[in-house]
């Protein structure tokens, strides 16, 4: 990394995976990042949701609110993911009820104070952080169902050079016209349905162009994070979380909440 470059690390949904979050923070700190960000969905899926928040606060991770956090903080009935499949709804409900019951009032109030989006200027580049999309917290932007022309529209409408989101659980990026960029930074909470147990986050670099008349150059690198996932499995067992969730943590394949996957992303998975 050159002296003139600006580098930030951006984490997606944590889903109560405090072990992966701790590993990702440590990893990012070795990469010379200036600031750390998290795009929300701190709870869900994993064990002991309250373990996540002190890690965020202690590492000075600037966070925004995801749909899960929004639901938990406001005491809504569900996570706002909009499933119709009864099996997906069953597991989503289990996960939500567990997380709701085990998130303390203190951290609910903390989540309530978080913004829905955050605008940054990184090395002269306008970066917009959001959870689902800039316009809707629970909008799924999958790689195979999001046209480039739509992303360009969002970049225009929200006056951003770089848009970073999460929510779907699978990382991807796309270069947009005029040097702009969209990236889904992935999630730390569970693997990316790719048959490996690592989870992912994104490092964003902004480099000044050699020609001062040109825009700075932006790039996104996805970083796999290995962590002690067997320890997480032990904690999940202690908390009586479903075997289906544990299988995902160990195998890297999604077993639940599959309904929302478009065909290309679904075809890459096992289920």
């Amino acid at each position: 990394m050159s002296a003139d470059s600006h580098r930030i690390a951006v984490f997606g949904g944590v889903y109560s995976n405090h072990l992966a979050l701790a590993a990702a923070i440590e990893d990012a700190q070795t990469r010379g990042v200036r600031d750390l960000y998290c795009l929300g969905d701190f709870g869900a899926f994993g064990p002991n949701p309250d373990k996540v928040f002190p890690l965020l606060v202690d590492a000075n991770v600037q966070a925004i609110r995801g749909n899960y956090d929004d639901s938990i903080a406001r005491g809504l009935d569900d996570c706002q993911c909009g499933y119709t499949d009864p099996r997906d709804n069953h597991f989503a409900r289990l996960s939500y009820q567990y997380t709701y019951q085990n998130t303390s009032e203190r951290w609910r109030r903390w989540m309530e104070t978080l913004p829905e989006s955050l605008r940054l200027e990184v090395g002269g580049v306008r970066v917009l952080l959001c959870h689902g999309s800039p316009r809707r917290m629970n909008e799924f932007l999958w790689e195979s169902t999001t046209s480039t022309q739509f992303l360009a529209h969002l970049a225009d409408a929200y006056e951003a050079d770089v848009i970073l989101g999460t929510h779907t659980g699978i990382h991807w990026k796309r270069r947009l016209p005029n040097g702009r960029l969209f990236a889904n930074v992935g999630v730390l909470g569970r693997p990316a349905n790719d048959g490996r147990p690592e989870v992912w986050y994104a490092v964003v670099d902004v480099l000044p162009s050699s020609d001062p008349m040109n825009r700075p150059l932006t790039s996104v690198e996805f970083v796999p994070v290995a962590y002690d996932h067997e320890r997480l499995v032990d904690e999940m067992r202690d908390e009586c979380l479903p075997d289906e969730f544990i299988e995902t943590i160990r195998s890297g394949w999604w077993t639940t909440c599959l309904e929302v996957l478009p065909s290309k992303e679904r075809a890459r998975g096992r289920f």
Partner: protein
């Protein structure tokens, strides 16, 4: 005019947490005028690519499609190409092809090839006409594109005994053969069933569908159950809407209107641009000849709007019965 932003809706919802879903979904009386829904953004562009012309004559068809219903005609390839070109500058997110039966259009493979360069596409078919000469090029295009091509196959029961009285003799087996051909080519079709059974049988029917599809080798089938739309031929099969089944302004309080496809979609037909694929038989649903004209807000005063209000974006790939829209 209804054009709430998310913040407003959330504040409103927060204020109304004591209002139960049953209050929202079963209004006791119709009060006030029908609300309007604005087009937030043209996320989805539909093509009524074969108009109302279909090889089948389903007894529940809400636009009464049949082999001889020429109320809406085929869209020529050159017109679809022009609409696609125009749509790009609108930032359209995805495209849907419906009819009638889209596989009756000989140019469907070429249309999908053009579309999948711009964004994802979905085709709504009855699955009974999937000739290899069309499926093979479509499959090649789909696999080469970075975007998903979803094929939705309509079947209204998990057996010939339950499906064929609705869709016609032999259609169950033909549609299952269509699904097999799609699976052979690496597609993961979304099987779409209209709820022509009693709602309490949803789970039983769902299970029967799953077993039947697993019998074809579709281990984790994608299944979507839709409510029936009580217009068109469905009025004769079952019933039309009652006078109390209407959307009023009160019912939109705290309701996220972006769940309705009229907030994010328009449909191109041989007779102009309509608000949605459900209402094309209603002249009021024709909003103009161009996308610009068709940005007009739409008043939810049509009886079928009630079904969308109850179930959300039922026409999209991810809506349907089971979704909590309150």
């Amino acid at each position: 005019m209804w054009n709430l932003d998310l913040q407003q809706v959330r504040r409103c919802l927060a204020d109304r947490q004591s209002v139960s879903k049953s209050t929202l979904t079963r209004p006791n009386s119709v009060t006030g005028d029908s609300p309007y829904v604005s087009l937030d953004h043209l996320d989805t562009l539909w093509f009524q690519v074969t108009g109302t012309i279909c090889n089948l004559r389903c007894t529940h068809c809400f636009i009464s499609c049949s082999p001889d219903n020429h109320a809406f005609d085929f869209l020529p390839l050159i017109e679809v190409e022009a609409w696609l070109e125009k749509s790009s500058s609108w930032g359209v997110k995805e495209y849907y092809f419906t009819g009638g039966e889209p596989f009756m259009h000989v140019d469907l493979p070429r249309m999908l090839e053009m579309t999948l360069k711009l964004g994802p596409a979905s085709v709504l078919t009855n699955g009974t006409l999937l000739p290899n000469r069309m499926l093979d090029p479509i499959s090649d295009t789909a696999h080469a594109s970075p975007y998903s091509l979803e094929i939705r196959v309509s079947i209204d029961g998990p057996s010939p005994e339950t499906n064929d009285p609705i869709r016609g003799e032999g259609t169950f087996n033909r549609a299952m053969e269509g699904i097999r051909k799609l699976l052979d080519r690496g597609f993961l079709p979304i099987v779409t069933a209209t709820q022509v059974w009693a709602p309490e049988k949803d789970e039983e029917v769902r299970q029967a569908f799953v077993s039947r599809l697993q019998g074809l080798g579709y281990q984790n089938p994608r299944l979507k159950i839709l409510p029936s739309l009580r217009i068109g031929r469905e009025v004769l099969r079952e019933r039309g809407y009652t006078t109390s089944e209407r959307v009023n302004s009160e019912m939109m309080e705290g309701y996220e209107s972006n769940q309705l496809i009229c907030a994010s979609s328009r449909v191109v037909t041989s007779r102009g641009v309509y608000v949605c694929p459900i209402l094309i038989d209603d002249p009021d649903a024709r909003l103009g000849s161009t996308l610009e004209e068709a940005t007009t807000p739409f008043q939810l005063d049509k009886p079928a709007c009630y079904t969308c209000w109850l179930h959300g974006a039922i026409c999209s790939n991810y809506g349907g019965i089971g979704q909590d829209v309150s």
